[in-house]
């Protein structure tokens, strides 16, 4: 089922400049998308594109990390690294989705949360922490898809969900392989070894039971991948919509509760 790339080749594929990010999936999967801006607290973060639209006729809320294409757009979107106001915008739209009983789809693909001085001043840690705790209680189905690099806490802030899906060449890790190699072995050139050690591929996470589905990429165009992903999301949303709210939230709690159960 999986292609022959090494872990680090997958990291590079997940990051590659021409890999489709959240915006692509919105354009190709969601009908009549209307972007909704701003966190109502500070500003509007270009690294997160969010709004409402239809998934084959079902109203949905979509929250996507996006790094942009041109260099100007990438600057404006901070290369896809969200700031606190991006996470707060995401949470605002999730609460809105809850109000209207709308399923939520999150697309994750970013090297991580913005690590700048201003982001710290505005509470980057608090913004992520708030999403983790609040998403546990959002009374609407949440499907999260890692489409690119799932970089640590900044990715997890859109990753508390009922169903987790990864694309085959996407990665999801607690730390970048370069960061890991430079901290542990004082040598960022050992990133390929770190990538292996971290077990960050879609196949690894599927084997750990941390993601429920892996969408194959090999020999498929971006459009074909998108259509396979859409089918998977639709099926999962239908399954989760059939549950009572208590069943839904218990399921979400237990999905994470069982990870790394000890003794």
């Amino acid at each position: 089922m999986y292609n022959e790339k090494s872990s680090y080749e997958k990291v590079k594929a997940a990051r590659s400049n021409d890999r489709p990010m959240g915006g692509f999936y919105i354009r190709n999967m969601i009908d009549d998308f209307i972007e909704l801006h701003g966190d109502r607290r500070f500003g509007d973060d270009g690294a997160i594109v969010s709004g409402v639209g239809y998934l084959d006729g079902i109203p949905v809320t979509v929250i996507a990390m996006e790094r942009g294409d041109s260099i100007e757009e990438r600057m404006r979107r901070n290369f896809g690294c969200p700031s606190p106001e991006g996470y707060r915008k995401a949470l605002r739209l999730m609460k809105q989705a809850e109000k209207f009983s709308r399923p939520i789809i999150c697309f994750i693909g970013s090297s991580g949360a913005n690590c700048g001085i201003d982001a710290e001043k505005r509470g980057q840690g608090e913004a992520i922490a708030e999403n983790l705790v609040e998403m546990m209680g959002i009374k609407a189905p949440i499907v999260s898809v890692v489409v690119g690099e799932g970089g640590s806490g900044g990715a997890l802030a859109l990753g508390v969900c009922d169903t987790a899906i990864m694309l085959e060449d996407a990665v999801y890790s607690v730390i970048s392989p370069e960061g890991c190699a430079s901290i542990l072995w004082k040598d960022s050139a050992k990133a390929p070894e770190a990538a292996d050690a971290l077990k960050l591929t879609a196949g690894d996470l599927y084997n750990f039971g941390i993601v429920e589905y892996v969408i194959e990429e090999k020999d498929r165009t971006a459009e074909e991948i998108c259509s396979a992903l859409k089918k998977c999301i639709k099926k999962e949303i239908a399954k989760k919509q059939a549950l009572t709210i208590d069943e839904l939230l218990d399921g979400r709690y237990n999905k994470f509760r069982k990870i790394g159960n000890c003794e």
Partner: protein, 272 residues
């Protein structure tokens, strides 16, 4: 007449008094009790020294009330990470702890509560599956028994040697914090030096009330990472408790000598 040395030796206290500590800030070298009897604050310059779990418990928990839970849970090399097994072994030996957090129940000023106390002497207080599991169980137990939680954080963040499992502990603990909060129970987070990375981005910032120790380093991104990424010089006092208070992310900065008193008042006010 026997010497002081002999008396202490007979009481098994010789090591205790002989052990010297060096202040991390001014370099003053003083016997351990000089620090211990001063809440691990340097008697010479007033700098806060990092406290281990045992010192922290004796600072805030009423004498003989602390009962540890899940004391024997130990980490495994869950993803077979190179050198991790040896590191765990060394951490256990050096810290005399089994993991980077101690959990249990106890009383603070006569108020019963559930407590977690992180300890940075075990692998920088990093969170792997055992730290996540112990804190999750503590919140679940507190929810079941309608107990407030008082938690002391100190951590370098997620433990990278446990890969994605360590990241997922942030979500796991957050779930338990959510249920505890929904049940109407109080959670006080006490942030001590240093509280960074995935701990700041999860349960350190999820308290109903957030207390910080003076000058404690509290932040998400590491300072070196920020400097390297932005090329900017960090402002003075950046990511310190006072900075966090100024920017609205901490309720109270409390001195160690008043910490127990403040916790007691808050617990009393919320008693149910």
């Amino acid at each position: 007449m026997s010497s002081v040395k002999e008396v202490l030796g007979n009481l098994g206290l010789l090591d205790y008094f002989a052990e010297k500590r060096t202040c991390k800030k001014c370099g003053a070298e003083l016997p351990y009790p000089a620090f211990r009897n001063n809440n691990m604050v340097c008697p010479s310059c007033g700098a806060y020294q990092r406290m281990n779990a045992e010192e922290r418990i004796s600072l805030v928990v009423d004498k003989d009330t602390f009962i540890e839970t899940n004391a024997n849970m130990e980490s495994k090399n869950i993803i077979g990470f190179p050198e991790y097994s040896a590191k765990l072994k060394k951490a256990k030996k050096d810290s005399s702890l089994k993991e980077a957090v101690v959990c249990g129940t106890g009383e603070i000023g006569g108020q019963k509560c559930a407590l977690f106390i992180m300890d940075s002497s075990f692998m920088m207080g990093s969170m792997g599956t055992v730290v996540g599991e112990k804190i999750t169980r503590l919140f679940e137990m507190a929810t079941e028994n309608n107990l407030p939680v008082v938690g002391f954080t100190t951590s370098g963040g997620a433990r990278m040697q446990e890969g994605i499992y360590s990241l997922m502990q942030m979500a796991k603990v957050s779930g338990a914090v959510h249920r505890h909060s929904e049940s109407g129970n109080l959670y006080i987070a006490v942030l001590t030096d240093p509280t960074t990375g995935g701990i700041t981005a999860s349960f350190a910032m999820q308290g109903d009330i957030t207390i910080a120790e003076p000058k404690a380093l509290i932040g998400f991104a590491g300072q070196r990472v920020i400097e390297q990424t932005t090329g900017e010089k960090l402002p003075k006092g950046f990511q310190r408790a006072e900075f966090m208070l100024e920017h609205g992310f901490v309720d109270i900065i409390e001195e160690r000598k008043r910490l127990k008193y403040t916790l007691t008042r808050l617990l009393e006010l919320h008693s149910r």
